[in-house]
Every structure is written in C-alpha cells, then in structure tokens.
Symmetry: D2
Subunit: 356 residues, 4 copies
Amino acid sequence: MSFNTFGRVFRFTTWGESHGPALGAVVDGCPPGLALTEEDIQPFLDKRRPGTSRFTTQRQEPDRVRILSGTFEGRTTGTPISLMIENVDQRSKDYSEVAKAYRPGHADYAYDAKYGFRDYRGGGRSSARETAARVAAGAVARLAIPEVRIRAWVEAIGGDSIDPANFDAAQIDANPFFCPDPAAAARWEGIVDAARKAGSSLGAVIACEAEGVPPGWGAPLYAKLDSELAAACMSINAVKGVEIGDGFAAAELPGEQNADAMRPGNDGRPRFLANHAGGIAGGISTGQPIRLRVAFKPTSSILTPVETITREGDAAEIMTRGRHDPCVGIRGAPVVEAMVALVLADQKLLHRAQCG
Amino acid sequence: MSFNTFGRVFRFTTWGESHGPALGAVVDGCPPGLALTEEDIQPFLDKRRPGTSRFTTQRQEPDRVRILSGTFEGRTTGTPISLMIENVDQRSKDYSEVAKAYRPGHADYAYDAKYGFRDYRGGGRSSARETAARVAAGAVARLAIPEVRIRAWVEAIGGDSIDPANFDAAQIDANPFFCPDPAAAARWEGIVDAARKAGSSLGAVIACEAEGVPPGWGAPLYAKLDSELAAACMSINAVKGVEIGDGFAAAELPGEQNADAMRPGNDGRPRFLANHAGGIAGGISTGQPIRLRVAFKPTSSILTPVETITREGDAAEIMTRGRHDPCVGIRGAPVVEAMVALVLADQKLLHRAQCG
Amino acid sequence: MSFNTFGRVFRFTTWGESHGPALGAVVDGCPPGLALTEEDIQPFLDKRRPGTSRFTTQRQEPDRVRILSGTFEGRTTGTPISLMIENVDQRSKDYSEVAKAYRPGHADYAYDAKYGFRDYRGGGRSSARETAARVAAGAVARLAIPEVRIRAWVEAIGGDSIDPANFDAAQIDANPFFCPDPAAAARWEGIVDAARKAGSSLGAVIACEAEGVPPGWGAPLYAKLDSELAAACMSINAVKGVEIGDGFAAAELPGEQNADAMRPGNDGRPRFLANHAGGIAGGISTGQPIRLRVAFKPTSSILTPVETITREGDAAEIMTRGRHDPCVGIRGAPVVEAMVALVLADQKLLHRAQCG
Amino acid sequence: MSFNTFGRVFRFTTWGESHGPALGAVVDGCPPGLALTEEDIQPFLDKRRPGTSRFTTQRQEPDRVRILSGTFEGRTTGTPISLMIENVDQRSKDYSEVAKAYRPGHADYAYDAKYGFRDYRGGGRSSARETAARVAAGAVARLAIPEVRIRAWVEAIGGDSIDPANFDAAQIDANPFFCPDPAAAARWEGIVDAARKAGSSLGAVIACEAEGVPPGWGAPLYAKLDSELAAACMSINAVKGVEIGDGFAAAELPGEQNADAMRPGNDGRPRFLANHAGGIAGGISTGQPIRLRVAFKPTSSILTPVETITREGDAAEIMTRGRHDPCVGIRGAPVVEAMVALVLADQKLLHRAQCG
C-alpha cells in the first residue's frame, strides 16, 4: 500500500517522480503565525542539491521551491502548506534497457512484482529525488521547534571513518562531504574519486545530533521517540540501519557502564554523566542531546555489469549508465536532518496535546 | 503523547502495567474465519514467560491468556479480538526507594518529566511485561500469514557471538537462550551467571528471519517494509538499534558486492545470488527471506549502585533490588518474532487492499 | 474493514459482543494527573443501564466497570486506560431461528455478506450493548474537558415531539425517557407501552447541547467539528441522521436569517444574537453552545413477523423474540453525550497541539 | 488542528486557498494500472465550475487540472497522484472591510479565535473553492470503483422541493440546478433570481444515490459506512445535516414499517422490498442503492447588512460585496458525488484488505 504521509499531528505528504514535471510536499498541522517564506527553505535544499561537486550526480537541478498555500503575509496560517519543486533536468535518454531488465539493488523488480508495471525513468517514485520534498518539509518543521538545533554529518564512507578526536563542527559545511574531520575529508576525495572511476559506488554512515530537546517529548509505546526516529530514517532511500545512542555497541556493554548516571544539575534538571541512551529513555527525551546513526548502502546504480533477469524472466546483464551519486549517503546528511526535525516537531506538538 | 496502537489495517492496541491487575491487547482488523483458540496463543506466551530458567527473572507468571471477544465457535469473526493476561505475582515489596530516586537507564526520570508523576511499581507501563501483550497479538497475526515462517534467535550476548558455521535451527528451542549454536549456548551459561552474580547485566543481539513472504508486500515510502519493521522493533523496551539485511555492514561494501544479482528461477521468480538487502528493495519484499537484527541494551535494573538524583533533585545512589532478567534481550526473541508477524500481517492486508 | 478505534489524539478502542464474557474500551492519550476511579464512570453507565424501567429491555446487567490499567493512586498516568464490563445476563436461549434467517433491519445479512458468518447471539458485535463501552470511555473524556457541560435529551419518540416551551432541564433525569417536557413524558408512557404490546417499536430523536466550549476548537477541513460530531454520532447503532445547529431547517432559511449576527460582548468575545450554526463556523467552535440532533431508527427487533430469507436464500418469516428495547433511541441519550464528550476531548487536545 | 487528509487506505489530502496561486489534492493509495489522464477528471470539474450560469458566482475560473505525478503512460502507477488547479481570477479588490470585521455565518471569527489571524482574501482556506480539489480527487476515486454509479441532484432550494413523481434522471444535467424535475427547475429560476436581486441567499438539499455497491463494504463500528459518509459530507463547506436512507423520517416510523423485508432474489442475493436503511445495515452495505441527503445552509456572503463586530471588538455592520453563489448548495451536487466516491473507494479497498 502506498503511504506517502508521515507524522501524527505535524504531518507531511510527499509526491512526485524523478522524471515527472515536479515533486512536492504538503505540510499539515503546522502551528500558525510562524514567519515562513521560500528563503527559509531554500538554503536546506541547496545543501542537498545535486550537481554541486564532482562527488555527487551531475544532474543539474536548481531545486527552487515554491510555496503554493498555507501562508499569508509571510506567516503560516495553520492550514496546509503546499511546497513544489519543478524538475528541469530530466535528460532525455534511452531507458529501454532499464525498462526491459531489473537493476539489482534497485526497486525495479519489487515495484513490478507489486504494481505490475513501473515508471522506470530514473527510478520513478523510488528515486532519491523524492528526498528534496522531505528537505523542504523539514525546513518548515524546524520553524516549529526553534529550541532545537539539529546537525548531521557523514561519519564514514565506504568503511573509512572520521577520527572523533578531529571532530570540528565548523568543518561540516566546509567540504563537499559534510565531514567534520578535515583529514578524513581529504582521504574521502580519493576514495570517492576512485570508486567513481571504477564504475563502483560506496555506502556511508550519517550521524545526527539534536540539542535543545527538553525532557518529556516522546511516548509510550508505539510512538516512542526511538521508534519514530527509526521509522523516519529507515524510510529514506538506501537506508538499512539505524542506531539510537550507542545502538549495537550498547548490546556489548555491562549494565553499570551503559546506565547514564545522574548528578544534580544547576537548572533543576539532572546532569547526566554519559549519554549511551542517545537522549531517550523509555521512548521519552531526557533533555540530553538526541544522538543517532544511520547506515546508507552503496548506490545501486553502478557502471559495473551485474547479472540480472529481464521482465520476461530471461538471463541478462545490466549496468546503469547515466548520472548518479557515487555515494548517495553523502547527500543523505541534510535528509536525515530533515527527518529528525519532522519527528521532533510532531512529538513536540503531541506532548503539548497530552500534557498541556 | 501516549500511542499504544500499532498497525494500519491489521492493528493492535496494548494496555497494562507491571503491577496492575492485568494486561492485554485488542487486535482489530483481523480477517474473519481463522481458527483461533487460546491454545493457538499460549505456546508463544510460554516461550516468553519469565521464571522458566535461572537466566530470566524469577517472577512467576503463568501468563495464561483469555480471549474475551472476536471469536465465535473457535473462529475469528472479523471484529476486535480482546486478549487478557492476569498478573498474579506482583510481589508486595517496598518501592519507596524507586519512588524517591530515578534509576539510571530506566524510564523513571523521563516519565516524571513528561507526566509529572509515575506508577513506579516494577516500572509501571515501561516494564517489559508489556511485551507479553505483543506476543499474544503476534500469535493472532501469524494466523493471518500462514504462508510465512518467522524465526528469531539470540545471536550475541554481552558481545559474545554465535559462530555462523555452527548455526542449527533445531537448537534454538533446545536451550534457555534461543541460541542456534550449542557451543555459544554453553559459553553463555557462564557469562550470564557471572553477570548475575556480579550484580551486573548484559545486552544482546537478536536476529530474525521471515521466510515465505511473497514479492510485493511493502510500500513506498513512509510505510516501507524496512521502516515498519524498524519502528516495530524499536518500540520494544531496551532496543536501541535495528538493521535490515546487512545493515551497517552494507555501508562498507562497494556497490557491485552489495547488489543482489539475479538469475532466472524455476518458478517464474528470480533466483537471487545473495541477500544483502534482507529481502527488501525499495521498501517492498523481493521474495527472498526477510532478515533483520535488533540490539537490546543491557538490563537497566542492576544490583550495582549507580549515582543518581532524587525526585527533589538531590544526589543519591541507587541499586535495583528485586527480580530482574540479567539479560532482557534473551526473552526479546519471541517479542521480535511477534512484532515481525504483526508488521507482515498488516502489510499483507495493505497489499491486498491496493493491488487486489 | 473492522475499525474499532475512534479519535486522533484522545483515542478509544472498544471490543466485545452481546453474549461474550465481557466488553470494554481502551482509552489512550488521556492527559495525566486527572482524578479517576470507577465511581467517576459508574453513574454514566447507570444512566444507560438496561432493565431499569419497563420502557427498556428487561436484560439485567449491573454494568459494573473495572479499571484495569492507566491509573495510579487514583489519578490517570497518561498511559492507556483499560475499562472492562462483564456480561452477566446472557440468557441461554435458542438462537437457531436467528442463526438460520436474517432479521430485516438488523445487521445479520450484511455481516454474513461481509464476513461469511457471524456471531448471531444477541446480534454479536452489532448489538447496542457495545455502547456501554462508549459510555465508559466518555466518562473519562469528560474529565479532560472540565470546562464543558454536556446534556442530551430525548426530543421526540415515534414522531411525537416535546414542546420547546415546556423545556425544563431538571426534568431530564426525572423520568425514564430523558424527557425535558413532563407533558411529553406522560404521553410517551402510553405510546411506548402501546408499541411494546403491539410487538412494534419506535424511533426517537435525541438532542444534545455542549456548553462551555471555548472558541477555536475544531479544524479545517476533514476534522471539522461538524464532521467529527457527525461521524461520532452516526457510528452509534440505529442512528441514521445528524444535524448540527439548525441542520435541514437551515436549508430553508434565507441567508440574512441564518447568519448569526454578533454584538460586542463583555468578556472580549462576541455576543451572538442567534445560534443557527450550532456553535460551529467553518468547522471551528465559536464559543456558543454546540447544538446537534440525532435520529435513531426504531428498534429492528420486533415481535411482528416480517418477510425474510434464510442463509440458504429461501423465503421465510421471522419475528424476534427475546428482550429488547421498544425504543432503542431512549437509551441513546447517554450514548450521544459520551460521543460528544469524546469528540470534544480529542479536539481540545488537537487545538492545544497546534495552537499551544 | 488542521487535518486535510481524508480516508484510511484510499486517502487524499487537499491544499490551497481561494486567492492563492493554486489549489490541489494528493491522492494516495490508488490501485495501480487504472487508465487516467486529465480528460478523466476535467468533466467533473466542469460540472462544478463557477461562472457557467447567472445562478452561480461570476468568478471565471477555467479550473484546468494538471496531473503532476502518479501516472505513467496514461495509467496510475500506485504512487501518489498530485493534482493541481491554478487560480486565475483572483480579482484584485479591496478586502479591508473583511479584514477588519467578521462576516456572520462565515468562518472569519472562528479562524481568528483559533489561529490568531487569517487569510481573509475570499475566505482563504474556508472558501468553497477548496471543493474543486475534492472533485478532482473524486474523479480518480471513481476509476477505482467502476462497478458503482453515483448520481447526486438538488432536491430542494430554499425549502421548495422537487416532486418525486416528476423525477427524471435525464433532466439533472439539462438545467443549471442539477434538478431532476423540470417544473421545479423552472420555479427555481425565479426563486434564485429573486434572492440574488434581494441581496439574499438560499440553502439547498442535495440527494445522492450510489448504485452497484455490492453487499459487504463498510465496517463495524467506527468506520461504519453511515459514519464515513456523514463525516465526508459534513466536511463540505456549508453542510449542516446528513441523512442516510430515511434519516430523520425513520425516527417516526414503527419498526415493522422501517424494516426492509427480504425475499429470495434471482442472483443469490436477497430482493429487498424497501430501502428505508439507505442500503446500509450495521454500517455495512446490503447491495441496495446507497441513498443519502445533505443539507446546505444558505450562502453566508450576502449583500444585506448584518450586525457584527470588528477584530477589535467594536460594533459594526457588514455586507459582503463581491462575486458569490446565491445558493452554494447547487454546486454542492458534484462535490457530494465526489465525497461519496472517495468514501466508497476507500471502503472497497478496506473490505478487500480484511476479507480478501
């Protein structure tokens, strides 16, 4: 079943295909009175925009957003906010090969199995272009949670990780990799170039931190903050793993190390001595920074031939020509930020609903 | 906001606290005409039941389920199925310490921060006892997906993993650890005993596989199978990480290795040469086994004193006396199975809704 | 599809059949800290309880409610509140006739057509006994909206209406008809007795008013207050019509008469000169009393033989022996009140979510 | 809370204001493979389009729909279908009066009370222009239920009803009133002209019938077909009453008259001797035509001065200049049809989900 709406009270719905005329999002449930113009959204789209370095796809999309509803005199009215981004660089090409055979790692076979046919142009609805709509919606969500600062970065590419000792937040926007470690950024130039030239691709790990979330957002049990964040991040194309706080590493710790001990703080809140839990206990925020990590698989579009079958079930080989990100995870950083903002805006409103 | 319902068309709602009179689930949207009696549910509850070995809590709960509605003459009628399990061993004890100070790693502080107060007896709603209701609901879900076989096991305890070469499915139910590797099971006896005696606790990794899911279940984009499974598993107490297929390891593979190549199969479906994707592409099942891994943090209730604060904000130390699982992840295996069954039943019905 | 949950953030789920062991409701999303014991719920159940006069069914049900979860030390905790009512007077009788043939006006044929079979004992899930669970849930909802006073009454039975000039709120609970007009109540004794003796049954119109709703609750567009109230009331057994404010009569007024003119009030709010709109404009409350009317069809269970068919499709005649309300609408008054309370609690929380 | 999505599995979300650049709908959950082009939608928009006779508003809107996503090679793909209609005739006028004072009967005061301010141009989001988006979505829904024929007509204007004896379906589209009775249509010319000239306005009653709905669609209890239809119709601007089948008249019938007796039919289904229930029993379709009636209040925009207050709370008088429908209910006929189609498509899919 197609479900293209996310959220419970602060909700958004996305639509659009890679090669259709446009894509967009409808944001519903946004509080009224927030200052919002296209200039509040565009910078986030620009961060995610393709074609800005040789390390991303060369498709040239300005990704200019238009607000079609939901604001009046520069402020949100409380009614649905329709955001539209036109596709301009749907390069006319020959898709006959993709139409005929299934690209392994892609949604091609699964879509055909489900729907009986598919829009094969650029992956159709399963294209990562859809994430532009999320980023636009996420920019609106940020306005609803001004108390929160969200920051995502690339932590590893192709298994090569940053050195936490080198972490410098100021570096994140200073290189094409959203990399907080200049040494790693330098290495990644070589790694990504090599993969691209080899007709290969790379995966990545994105880390994200949200500071300023007060204690009390979240919910027992099926809207736990961990659960909502996991759902949000796992809904992004190419994501196959999510960790909250220490994640899988927590499964290796003894209980006394994993427990985040508390001391009296000076603002009436506890001062935590550690944050293994990623700022969430029992599904509810503790006031510590929310921390999570997201695994992106390597781009499935590669220039290396892979065994596959045709729609008719015959053996074939396929390689995906065209313009692709050698590492789709890189541009995942602003998308993860957007999804985290959308979840937190929803949870803020939900908390206010129940607890006043 | 409290959200205790999960699912879109095959839905369930759970209720109940650790020390209340009972707990239960209401399953709504179940297809009519399925043979269902309490005997179809009880075996799954028995697998999860506490007090069956020295490696779990010694709380003695028979966990007998009663079906209060939704069946007639032994078959589901299509109306809501109410399942109730009475609590019988809520040992009267002194909770004054837990009432006064927050147990690090537990939901205590977060619940108080959200709701202003909490039912502190045995963790109240945040207790893992709630998972009994999920297991009962999951047993009903299995009846709706007879084509699927779901099997979970413990893959690692405290960082000590099974040897995949030793994997023997028949062993899973032959030891108190749901462990498919007899050598690992033998080691874990010592590891868990040692942790228990030291007043410590351990985390665990659960793996789960669902065979028989046909191609086509799942949905773009915000109900992707990956996303639904992640939400379901992350909603379980103590879970902090979820991987679909290779998960984080996929982020280290080059694209040509990660793509699951296809050859013609002999049933009209592709024969996949690998399953890095965990049986899901583009959020939709491919017909391969669904594979996922779930990280449970170590039990937060430990007999080792930890620094904390009182409700009034004063410094304190706390250690959690009482009956606890030294490794709550062990009994997580039947819970993960239940959540996977519930997600798949929902997705089967959703697929049928849209695609007939 | 079975959907037994209602509400968006203040939600409830009901379960249970007429002749099962029990029925109940799970209320989720209730604000924490509200004083709640069984004594807060019981009076509302007692109003709806059968067997209290000769004008209702003679089934003897004490309808004692038990709170199984969601409170601690007499206050709501913010977690799901499970309410259970045991059925005690499921008289053992011979249902073979009802099992075999369809009672016209009942859900018998429709349930069989949908589900393939049905629990025919007392109507199973389609029995008006389900409304006991709504009344229990509604009592909880009232606690969340202490600013609102809700009052329903019977306005007409079998086409015989009260005289608005005789309206006396104090009379509503002083007769077995929830009738605010003593003269009408006296007439209705005769009318209902006559119908009962004739083996016939009667319909009724219930009116309901909610005072104290502040301006601003409700929502454009698909959760308009009118729409939510209509859905809530139409979900009650036997209801076939809903009017907000003047309803169908508004369709006969010229615009200048229908517009509720305003003058300055002395509390900063407008003073309205009329309330044709029933307190709702654009789907949002105006601060005037919410007014609505609900039409209940006559009880379908009658002692008069009616033409029908058997499950096998053969011609038959059926008359419904057993204990039935001669006018099911009478006991609809507390049910309408409950549904209105549930909608308003939900809308209060939703308003708070979006508008702080 | 703003909720602009309707439906459970076949869902749509609308957006847009009267005087914004555009309005639209996103339809999600539509089955794949249905032939769909803009030409399948346009005729329904043309029926609802303003400016086609002197009996509707003189605003000139071509209401040309564009499909922006969700189709490929003229067929639905199963992914969200984005529909957009540009506003072209937002006449620049002076809104200072409407900005300053509240129009009685309009949403002006309620929106301000809820959101703190409002887009006052042409009613903003509360304008009946929003219903164009519903009609577009409804045209898509019709494709999902080819077995159903839906037909709405105007039954009364300003209290003047058609004569059922004159009913001629072929007449409905032959006059500007969707009136099946030529004599009534002739009278209504005079009535509507008179109201328009007097600066007044009129209400209307719309009747709707859906033939071809098989037995079994619908659901106990909170998604009863009656309830879903009532919610859908009550969400339309200006609607204040809904009846299913006989509605309020059923409340006046004795039980033996109201029961729809059955005889054996020749297709294995019962032949019903009457249809008081409007084709729905127990919330589930019986296979008879679905019948409902909807009351539209008179247009609130009138050229007659009415007492009101300003935003500052001062006494004022207001009359609404500009272009308005003298009877907004007339153009409600295609909107009611659309909403009924949307509900039925949803229920068809839900039935398929649960009952295969």
